[in-house]
């Protein structure tokens, strides 16, 4: 049942605790939103899931595999920016995802292999509404298009979990709405297990099956850095009749004010 298991994870930088006592069990296919004040350690938690960093204590397992020591193909990732290769065209960004997955030193596709990869890339681009810009460089795209490409590219690597760190944070509200739809569709199609950090509570509740709120449960007024953050609320957004709407309202102000 538990696909991603986080067991009693602590993370400190230079003895300064950022995260403490994080335990979490996520079933396959769940969409987990992560919200919290800025600087409370949401990105740090995502870096741990990505295996970009190792926790000071505790461990994280995906599908009972041993904890990863570096980012690998099990983990797809999209950041707020720089999540595509700016020196490759839109289509080449997708082809590169296949090329990197292949083994071998050069790992560059040529001839019929490349044509086949290009066809698959074009099919994906058509599906995500980027067919008309296949030959453009990312810099020529709008922010929303660039993030759609970044998500499509991450999924082209066929990861087991998808990590999103404020993926829509730099987009205007209208684009953000259409990106919600886009991500929802993708999620319905793939059944991907997703962790998304957002500073937008509404976005978190709208997209997530589950919303985790990160906050510091203990607070030393003389030394604000003395304690780290942990999961203080764990909402199931699909629970019918759950009292979260008014709870949510209250927390919106709470979290925003402390941000």
């Amino acid at each position: 049942m538990s696909f991603v298991r986080v067991e009693d994870v602590y993370q400190s930088y230079d003895r300064r605790p950022i995260l403490e006592r994080i335990s979490l069990s996520v079933p396959e296919g769940q969409f987990v939103s992560i919200v919290g004040a800025s600087g409370c350690g949401k990105s740090t938690f995502l870096r741990l899931l990505l295996a970009q960093e190792q926790p000071t204590e505790g461990e994280i397992r995906i599908a009972d595999a041993s904890p990863a020591r570096e980012p690998d193909r099990d983990r797809g990732v999209v950041f707020q920016q720089y999540s595509v290769f700016s020196h490759m065209t839109v289509r080449d960004n997708l082809i590169a995802a296949e090329e990197f997955a292949g083994t071998g030193l050069g790992a560059r596709f040529w001839g019929s292999r490349r044509r086949a990869a290009a066809q698959r890339a074009d099919a994906v681009l058509e599906r995500v509404g980027l067919g008309h810009v296949a030959h453009a460089f990312p810099a020529a795209l709008s922010g929303g298009m660039r993030q759609r490409l970044a998500i499509a590219q991450a999924l082209a690597g066929k990861p087991r979990i998808l990590l999103l760190d404020e993926p829509f944070g730099a987009l205007d509200p209208g684009t953000r709405l259409s990106m919600h739809e886009f991500l929802g569709d993708i999620r319905d199609d793939t059944g991907m297990t997703i962790f998304m950090v957002t500073h937008d509570l509404e976005e978190g509740f709208k997209l997530g099956d589950r919303v985790l709120v990160f906050d510091k449960p203990r607070w030393d007024p003389d030394d604000p850095d003395a304690y780290g953050a942990t999961i203080t609320y764990d909402f199931d957004t699909r629970m019918p009749g759950a009292p979260f709407p008014h709870l949510l309202k209250k927390d919106v102000t709470d979290v925003r004010h402390s941000a």
Binding site: L50, Q81, Y82, V84, F85, S86, A101, L105
Partner: protein, 271 residues
């Protein structure tokens, strides 16, 4: 209106840009007139017409002994040295820059060493080069390469470090190996920076070239200038200096044009 907000129109800007050039030419012509009024045989500031005439001769008349036009022969010799030296430095700079920027182990092993090397004044090792490589082409090319390589390594490793971490992480999650990240992400990302860095290093490269040619050479732009200095041949030196300036400008312009054309994605992106 404040001076900081007063912008010249385009046509006025062009005129303004020409003023210093024209002023310099006028100052020269006046100085030359004054000196030649006192001494018609003055060699220090020959008449502008005389300089132009001499430049024409330098560019067209073959040398009596070799049958070659010296200006072209000197230009070819100097450009070959400059190209080899800077090309070698760029290749080494790119290779080590990628290693140092991308691999923490290489960085730990090499960065302090390169930082130390870059403090050595290259001209101070010129005698060593002459002793080791003799007075031929190798020592001149080596001086240029040694002179600009540490800068290129440091600049490029810094540029590699500046590649957004997000991009490197993305490549890892797609399964890329260190080699693939180096060749397919880091290398293309820093190539435009390589051209920028080479453009910056050309000034020092010319300096090292002319210094080496002045000391030991049988042809070359720097060699010629220092040779005719003995005869106070300003009518040769001035056209040569102008020609070197033009070459430097042309190379820089070409590199910039190449960069624009080859790296469209950067032009659209950050530059």
């Amino acid at each position: 209106m404040r001076m900081i907000n007063r912008r010249p129109e385009r046509s006025i800007a062009i005129v303004l840009a020409m003023i210093p050039f024209v002023a310099m030419l006028i100052a020269y012509a006046v100085g030359s007139d004054v000196r030649r009024a006192a001494n018609p045989a003055d060699k220090l500031l020959p008449a502008p017409s005389h300089v132009v005439e001499s430049a024409g001769r330098l560019a067209t008349e073959p040398d009596k002994r070799s049958g070659e036009v010296l200006l072209w022969r000197d230009t070819r010799a100097s450009l070959v040295r400059l190209g080899l030296g800077v090309g070698l430095a760029a290749a080494i700079g790119l290779g080590f820059g990628l290693l140092i920027g991308l691999l923490p182990i290489a960085r730990a092993a090499l960065a302090p060493f390169i930082a130390t090397l870059s403090l050595i004044p290259p001209l101070a090792v010129l005698p060593i080069l002459f002793i080791v490589f003799g007075l031929g082409e190798v020592s001149k090319v080596a001086l240029i390469a040694i002179g600009v390589t540490p800068f290129l390594i440091r600049d490029l490793s810094q540029r590699v470090l500046e590649i957004p971490q997000e991009m490197i992480l993305k490549a890892q999650t797609l399964g890329a190996s260190s080699w693939q990240i180096m060749t397919r992400v880091a290398l293309p990302q820093v190539l435009p920076r390589l051209i920028q860095a080479v453009r910056l290093s050309l000034g020092p490269a010319w300096l090292f070239l002319i210094a080496a040619e002045a000391i030991a050479a049988t042809e070359g732009l720097g060699y010629r200038i220092f040779l005719v200095r003995r005869y106070l041949a300003m009518d040769v030196i001035l056209p040569y200096v102008a020609w070197i300036t033009f070459l430097a400008f042309a190379i820089d312009w070409t590199l910039r044009a190449v960069s624009r054309k080859a790296f469209r994605w950067v032009e659209e992106d950050r530059l």
